[in-house]
Amino acid sequence: MAKSRAAGLSSLRRKDHATAYLMILPSLVALGIFVFTPLVMALEKSLTDWQLYQGTTFIGLENFRIVLGNSLFRKSLENMARFVLMIVPAQFVFSFLFAHVLRGMHQRAGALIKTAIYVPTVISGVVASVIFLFIFHYQGGILNWLLRQLGQKRIAFLAEPSLAQMSIAVTSIWMGFGYNSLIMYAGLQNIPQSYYEAAEVDGATPFKQLIYITLPSMKNTFILILINLMTGTLQMFDLPYMMFGGAGPVNSTLTPMVYVYNNFKSAEYSLGYTIASALLLMIVIGALNSLVFTVIGSQKSQDE
């Protein structure tokens, strides 16, 4: 009896292989077709002067050389750096501080506020752009109304390069604030209260508690937030494309994603060239993310 049961189980296990493959098959096929095939193709085609419906010639690293020398591509990298500097630290600090505010709220009020600040997170970049184009509008924008009330002249927020960048940064921060605040709040809530109580007994000042308890305990939260923010900001497309039709005043809102898309649409460069520029950005993103990991240092590994 016991023997047949064991045999039954092991035959079940053998059958498990087939079942398991059947279960992972749809996702594997989809990832294979829509992620890995394009990736391999990108690696291969970046070394050619390939165009759709045309033959290709292997040209080695020529594309990469041209991309790196292209002034528009460099401009897009510079804009990207500006957006990262404008958005990431601000969003990080705001959400960290606001998480403390959320922690200090009464339960009911806290729940209401969490819901309210999260709503913009589910709004699309296109809709957010429409709203903020309206808010920054020269004639009918609410900001210019405010300036008029203060006796100031109207400002063309969307026409001046640095203000155009700022408009995008504000919109982006508005969209991401709820998500990041709640993640920060979760990280904060996860720190055992006993740490603070012990510190209090030892007479540690709030500042010391922040430095020695809060910050080290939230390492993983910080990594998650920074990587999300950087990856998102580096690939920003909807906002600049929607608010400024892409490049914006003096190319000030030309992000790498817009650069890649514009080249894809126009026939000025080969697809090989466009792909090469996208690959270079993957290297930038990867490098920045590993920088985050090394600087902050994770306690847990990603897998298991």
Binding site: I24, A30, A42, Y118, P120, V127, H137, Q139, G140, I285
Partner: protein, 283 residues
């Protein structure tokens, strides 16, 4: 007496400060949405006579919404229907295939499991930007341009979603599953009758997430569909933004309607979504 007052006074003041900050921040989050809401009911000229002190329309009118319904070049409701079809079917398919894969990775031993799992996780680290152009080439080669397929299929498999489900399934107790296996239940049967009913929250969280991703997407549809039948609502909003530059109320009205399904879905499932965030924030 006085010292007690002092001692009580400080946390009280801190609490007041917190409340003030909370109210300001909440206003910052919510005001733009309310402003869009009221402005889309305003008459053309009043929209651009911004004055938050006259917050509500002097007269609530629906002309902006009628304009949307009448637009033949970029039919609004057609786009809403098409987007709803794409988002709902994609969300359902996505949670089906991802949770099924997650179950296998969490609960079954099989050859090459570690390798396949690593590959799946690896796909999370490939930025969309990198494969944007070649993804277009792939769907073009498959003859999928201008179809529901091209909108639905590419985003279905998500390593993040598989990862999330797997984490949940790993924590479910072994006993029931083992008993069912001994009784001769198939793996599929176990998955459907034991795992799915007990995993409501990851299904809601990942389903909502997929729906939002599809509903809000703009770049991919803009690259792959031009036929009116398949055009998605964000593409239409983008066109309105150009066409109705002088009649901004129409753009706002369209945006308001396009933003409603995500917001309503979030409000319905917020309990799950906030809980899900709490989990991912700790990991």
């Amino acid at each position: 007496m006085q010292s007690e007052l002092k001692r009580r006074g400080r946390p009280h003041r801190a609490r007041t400060a917190f409340t003030v900050i909370a109210v300001i921040v909440t206003l910052f989050s919510v005001f733009p949405l309310l402003w869009m809401f009221v402005s889309s009911f305003k008459e053309g000229k009043e929209v651009l006579r911004a004055n938050p002190l006259r917050f509500f329309p002097s007269q609530w009118i629906t002309a902006n919404f009628q304009k949307l319904a009448e637009d033949r070049t970029y039919p609004f409701w057609q786009a809403m229907r098409s987007t709803a079809f794409v988002s709902v079917s994609a969300a359902l398919l996505s949670i089906s295939i991802n949770s099924m894969a997650a179950y296998a990775y969490a609960r079954i031993e099989f050859t090459f499991k570690t390798l396949l799992w690593r590959l799946t996780v690896l796909s999370m680290y490939i930025p969309g930007l990198t494969i944007l152009v070649t993804s277009f080439v792939v769907v073009n080669n498959l003859g999928l341009l201008d179809s529901y397929w091209v909108l639905i299929l590419p985003g279905l498999a998500s390593a993040y979603s598989i990862f999330f489900f797997r984490q949940f399934f790993l924590n479910m107790p072994m006993a029931v599953e083992e008993a069912a296996l001994i009784d001769g239940a198939s793996r599929f049967r176990i998955f459907y009758s034991i795992f799915i009913p007990n995993a409501k929250s990851p299904y809601v969280i990942m389903g909502t997430g997929a729906f939002l991703g599809y509903w809000n997407s703009f770049l991919w549809p803009a690259m792959t569909v031009t036929n009116q039948k398949y055009v998605q609502v964000m593409q239409v909003i983008r066109s309105y933004n150009n066409v109705y530059a002088n009649n901004y109320g129409v753009v706002l009205a369209g945006s308001l309607l396009a933003a409603l399904p995500p917001v309503l879905l979030f409000l319905v499932f917020q309990r799950y979504i906030v809980k899900g965030l709490m989990i991912s924030g700790i990991k």
